[in-house]
């Protein structure tokens, strides 16, 4: 494969969008936020984000929103990610590695059940006070 041009990228996107409209839209309104502070980066958060994209792609899920944030205040269990799935509680997972990402996609996002052995609840106290103690 040679170097892709912007035009080729546009074409590829159009093809994908057409294919997408024929499938049901799994993953819609789901959101994954990866903690990408200095602590997260040092612990491998970029690999986690990469693995998320790869596993979502393998499961043909195109609609999950994948974003990043700074440190969530849980530096001791980095890499951390927050997962929002409609109808389920918002969860922060910690000590996330490639195997855990696979579990989170298959169990939490697709299977709608929590991955209990990696849950680290809410952001730490110094962040909670900032957004109203959520």
């Amino acid at each position: 494969m040679g170097r892709m041009t912007l035009e080729e990228l546009r074409k590829l996107r159009d093809e994908k969008q057409n294919a997408l409209q024929k499938r049901d839209i799994e993953g819609k309104d789901c959101r994954v936020v990866v903690g990408m502070g200095t602590c997260g980066i040092a612990a491998g958060a970029k690999v986690v984000l990469d693995t998320f994209l790869q596993i979502l792609d393998e499961n043909k899920i195109e609609n999950v929103s994948v974003t990043q944030t700074g440190c969530m205040g849980l530096c001791y269990v980095e890499p951390t990610i927050e997962v929002f799935v409609p109808g389920m509680p918002n969860v922060i997972y910690g000590k996330v590695d490639a195997a855990t990402v696979k579990k989170i996609v298959e169990q939490h996002i697709i299977g709608k059940s929590l991955v209990t052995d990696h849950m680290f609840d809410r952001p730490a106290a110094d962040i909670i006070s900032k957004d109203g103690g959520r």
């Binding site: 040679g2 912007l6 546009r10 996107r13 994908k16 980066i41 970029k46 990469d50 792609d57 990043q68």
Partner: protein, 194 residues
């Protein structure tokens, strides 16, 4: 401490996004022996006092994390550059912007491995605070030279908002193909005898 050069890039460019920059430029010039990097933003900048204090690992502005007493991004970078006889410099003007230049000596034993540049650019391009990010990447060795340029607004124009898994996977494929094109000029680095 970060493992890869790319981890430092990610960490440092994020600072620019968080400094209310409209436009951030990342340039990476790699040769046989050196990697020269520059991050230039037009964010809020720093005055002389703050500029000196950000190099201290025990200084942070206290805005993101009220009780926190450390800011390790820049100190980590300086440490890594110094360890391999690289350079580091910081220029900043309040209200105008900040430019950080640094380099790694690629033949030095203590230089971190480069890391995965396409996935690093992917993360930076999709950063929620990034309005415009320009990346200029070049590789010039004894085998020849190549380069590519990327612009966030241009990519968004093609792909739409860079925030869903499908779009990001397309962008990843595009970024990998850019870097793949430079591979023909890449040389294995040998450690210097010194």
């Amino acid at each position: 401490m970060h493992v890869f050069i790319c981890d430092f890039l990610l960490d440092i460019v994020q600072n620019s996004f968080e400094a209310e920059s409209r436009r951030v430029e990342l340039s990476l010039e790699e040769t046989d022996t050196r990697l020269v990097c520059q991050v230039r933003d037009n964010g809020k900048g720093m005055d002389e006092a703050v500029k000196n204090r950000v190099l201290d690992p025990f200084y942070t502005d206290g805005i993101k994390h009220v009780k926190r007493k450390v800011g390790l991004g820049l100190p980590f970078l300086i440490q890594a550059c110094e360890a391999c006889n690289g350079d580091f410099s910081l220029e900043s003007e309040l209200g105008v912007g900040t430019t950080i230049s640094f380099s790694f000596n690629l033949n030095h034993m203590d230089t971190p491995p480069f890391g995965d540049l396409p996935s690093t650019i992917l993360v930076l391009m999709s950063h929620p605070l990034a309005e415009e990010l320009l990346v200029k990447r070049s590789l010039a060795t004894c085998k020849g030279s190549g380069e590519y340029e990327l612009s966030k607004t241009e990519l968004e124009d093609v792909l739409g908002p860079l925030n869903t898994s499908g779009t990001l996977n397309l962008l990843k494929e595009f970024l990998v193909s850019q870097e793949e094109d430079l591979k023909q000029f890449y040389i294995e680095h040998t450690l210097s005898k010194a």
